[in-house]
């Protein structure tokens, strides 16, 4: 009975060790993108108030980028939003330079003024977020 308990405890200890060893050490200071959301509007805290992946031609597209960590020794970080349509036709590319010291939300938005024959054409769109030159994620959505 005792030997059975020892075997079980040892196995659990080994599992626990292997599990924790597989995780990289937490890096609180490194600036990373935690979440990317798209929607029709943003709240005062810059998060998306009206999440959707289906827009109407007259909508403004918003993307909110949640970052965690800080720029650390680097003075600033650069976030870029690449908006594209269909098979990759470029719509717009916007850049923001930020210096966060903790969790932050950065929003980008694009609009196409309404007028005769204007507004967003129906179809597939995407926005790619790039942090310091490295792609941090892409969100796809459509206009119908």
């Amino acid at each position: 009975m005792l030997s059975t308990v020892v075997v079980i405890v040892s196995a659990l200890a080994l599992l626990g060790c292997s599990g924790s060893a597989a995780r990289p050490p937490a890096t609180q200071s490194a600036l990373t993108v935690a979440d990317i959301d798209v929607g029709r509007s943003v709240a005062t805290d810059k998060t998306i108030a009206d999440k959707t992946d289906t827009f109407r031609p007259g909508d403004t597209f918003y993307v909110a980028v949640k970052t965690v960590g800080s720029v650390g020794s680097a003075p600033t970080a650069t976030l870029v939003a690449h908006w594209s349509y269909g098979d990759g036709q470029r719509i717009n590319e916007a850049t923001q330079t930020i210096a966060p010291s903790g969790p932050a939300v950065t929003e980008f938005h694009v609009s196409r003024p309404n007028g005769p024959g204007d507004g967003w054409p129906t179809g597939d769109y995407k926005v790619e977020i790039v942090l310091n030159g490295v792609s941090a994620g892409t969100e796809k959505f459509k206009v119908q």
Binding site: Y85, A94, T97, T106, E107, S111, D118
Partner: protein
């Protein structure tokens, strides 16, 4: 695909020259970076976005789409002095910085 098909496909692409963009952040803006004399390129916290020139564009037309006024063309010209030698000559495919 023949030239005519290619032309039809290109012509069918939507024109996004009137698209306006912006953005804000809860993160603090970085401190202003001093610029060397004569350097007019945007640096530091100056937010810009990129506009890709399409056939038929002029700085006035782009300014009209971006700022709502063709008279603002000089802002775009000044932000791209390294790319634009003659404000009357811009080329399809050029990527211009548009100051916010």
């Amino acid at each position: 695909m023949g030239i005519f098909d290619y032309w039809k496909k290109e012509k069918a692409k939507p024109d996004f020259s009137s698209v306006r963009s912006g953005g804000t952040s809860t993160a603090p803006a970085p401190p202003p970076v001093p610029q060397a004399d004569g350097d007019s390129s945007p640096v530091g916290s100056v937010d810009t976005h990129t506009y890709v020139v399409v056939k038929g564009d002029s700085l006035s037309k782009i300014a009209s789409g971006q700022y709502g006024s063709a008279q603002q063309w000089r802002r775009i010209y000044e932000a791209n002095r390294d790319l634009i030698k003659d404000p009357d000559l811009i080329y399809p495919g050029q990527q211009l910085r548009i100051p916010e």
